[in-house]
Amino acid sequence: MQMNKRMLLASIAGLAVAVAGPALAQKKYSPGASDTEIKLGNTNPYSGPASAYGLIGKTIDAYFKKVNAEGGINGRKITFISYDDAYSPPKTVEQVRKLVESDEVLFVFQPLGTPSNSAIHKYMNSKKVPQLFVATGATKWGDPKNFPWTMGWQPNYQSEGRIYAQYLIKNHPNAKIGILYQNDDYGKDYVKGMKDGLGEKAKTMIVSEQPYETSDPTVDSQIINLKASGADVLFNVTTPKFAAQAIKKAHEIGWQPIHLLNNVSNSVGSVLKPAGLDAAKGVLSTAYLKDPTDSTWDNDPGKKEWLAFMDKYYPDGDKTSSFTVYGFTVAQTLHQVLKQSGDDLTRANVMKQAASLKDVKLPMLLPGITINTSASDFYPIEQMQMQKFTGERWELFGPVLSGGEGS
């Protein structure tokens, strides 16, 4: 009896909450949000040495034009304020402070570049303003304990390293791995991911590690050393210029290892062509977005959606560039977060919703790859698929692999 009564009470209470819910859910706002508007801030390098990346900011801007033309998000228009920081950290600090303190944006979305984000990391967290979906793959952006207001987006370098490790363990368990890596946080992140992924076997499988400095003219000697070490797998953790050199040199000295090339440098135009398409044939890498130049996707509804967006809202944009695909997809991720936030547009709730993405599928993510976050997982995309270079283009193969920690 007693039990029943309690249950009845509970269910009445539950019902009351459910009914009153929408009415009671008061509209709550932090600066930058109102009944009619959500203000977002962003910095991108529209000028300077990294201005090629500016395409991402422009695509995001076009995406929110589309959102506004279609009625906004929960009835609110998006104002996307994007400033040029020329890839210079002091300028990023200045522009981001302008966004937060003068334009009073709700949060800062997709600031681009590892140094630029490092420069504002502490500031954003002390101000408690979200630094959401930063455009850099460093692993340090997913640290909810120490930096609860910062979140990455793309697969981080360690995750990618673990994915290569999984591939090797499954397909080449007796491989002898030689690693070429850039001697900084970026390179070391990848190596750590690989070692974590190999686990116990790392000690026996990795036969040589060759670091290089960005100031080195070439990586020729490192490649020769790696070949001499007897390695039959080359894990190539390099930025585009050095990646091209490594591919070329390995080909020249007749070394044909299983060549794992990091995602950072898998551009056909700027790495594989200069290295020589013949030399690059058979190189392996990873992908998480659909390659817009890959004819596999010609009849894919996802690609059609992206193309329709590009045609209507960003006709000048480069349809062969992965940057426009990237900008489109990251903006859609944010769209989902804001939709979930409903009428509670406080900074805390935006961060909470960003950390509550469950199996989000987006049109330009590879089939099978979904976005997942939680209060302790600030790495939205951690899955990738292996791909092989045919001499002309990348060809996906194998299953989608997850590089999440412990996987």
Binding site: P89, V93, K122, D184, S215
Partner: protein, 340 residues
């Protein structure tokens, strides 16, 4: 716009509207100081921060001006001294836990020595060749900061994050206001020193070297020593600015000190007026704010708009802001004379 020959009957004291020029100057200085003092109490933190940065750039430009404007040596490499100053401050604060106030004299000494030593071999180079040598320095420094030899200290590509200082003695100022006040105090001291320097015997020697090195050495000036010293002092000023900049931004990374910064300082020098001390303030504000204005005019064409503004400035004030002020005041003086 021909310059008229000096009026031989010129009264000893030039006046505008019956008030002597020196009074005008003092009034301008007074108003300037009052404005500087009022700013932190009437403006938003963000604008205070921007003005702090503009003043910091002005100090850096002042350093360059001592070298170029008063001693006639060119430099396209002052971003290097700025970087050395910034890293000195950052490393001391982050790695050695030394108070930010002490980083300024340290940055001053380090940069003076660095500048002086760089000035010694650069002595053999003149004009465009010196510009090229300093350019090499500007290109080299960001890469050297990344090198693994010093990475333990400089933090490599990732740079160093430092903690912004709070106001001392329980002053009721937030960190932006305090940093502004601190920067203004340092700036005033450095401007006074620079003013005294160029008016002193040493200053006259510097100007003599600029105008006619052979005549200067005939007068007994040790040209080599003075040139190297000027390099040192110039680097000192820019280095202190770099240290202040590091504290204000609370972050240093090699990407902060690229050649673009060297060019920005050069632009500030020319816009403010080569050889003018107050002009460097105009230069500092120009360097910070005009790119923002250009961006607000057109995002896609910000660079082009900036270029047009720069061309207009050069066309309208061929001798910089200081030259414009000089021109206007001399016109007014003459008007007063013909009118009265």
């Amino acid at each position: 716009m021909l310059l008229r020959p000096t009026d031989t009957r010129e009264p000893l004291v030039a006046t505008i509207a019956g008030i002597p020029m020196t009074t005008w100057r003092l009034t301008a200085l007074g108003i300037g100081l009052v404005v500087l003092a009022v700013i932190p109490f009437v403006m938003k933190n963000f604008y205070i921060f921007q003005i702090t940065l503009a003043i910091i750039y002005a100090i850096a430009i002042l350093g360059l001006n001592l070298l170029t404007g008063f001693n006639g040596q060119f430099s396209l490499g002052h971003s290097a001294f700025y970087a050395v100053g910034a890293y000195t401050a950052a490393i001391m604060m982050d790695r050695c836990d030394i108070g930010y106030v002490w980083t300024l004299p340290a940055a001053a000494i380090v940069c003076f020595v660095f500048g002086f030593l760089f000035g010694l071999p650069a002595l053999r180079l003149e004009g465009v060749y010196l510009a090229l040598a300093t350019f090499a320095l500007a290109i080299a420094i960001p890469q050297m900061l990344k090198s693994s030899l010093v990475e333990h200290w400089t933090g490599g590509v990732q740079g160093i994050t430092i903690i912004k200082p709070d106001a001392p003695f329980g002053l009721p100022l937030n960190s932006d206001q305090w940093l502004y006040a601190f920067t203004v105090i340092v700036a005033v001291a450095m401007y006074v020193c620079a003013g005294n320097l160029v008016r002193s015997r040493t200053g006259r020697a510097l100007i003599a070297i600029r105008d006619h090195p052979i005549a200067a050495s005939a007068m007994g000036i040790d040209v080599a020593l003075y040139k190297s010293l000027t390099f040192g002092v110039s680097a000192l000023y820019t280095g202190v600015a770099g240290a202040l900049g590091a504290i204000a931004i609370s972050f240093v990374a090699p990407d902060s000190f690229t050649f673009t910064l060297a060019v920005a300082l050069f632009v500030g020098l020319v816009v403010g007026g080569v050889g003018s001390i107050p002009g460097t303030l105009v230069g500092g504000f120009f360097v910070l704010f005009v790119p923002n204005i250009a961006e607000s005019v057109s995002k896609g064409l910000a660079g082009a708009v900036y270029g047009v503004i720069l061309l207009l400035v050069i066309y309208l004030m061929p001798t910089g802001a200081a030259g414009l002020v000089r021109l206007i005041s001399s016109r007014l003086v003459q008007q007063g004379r013909t009118g009265g």
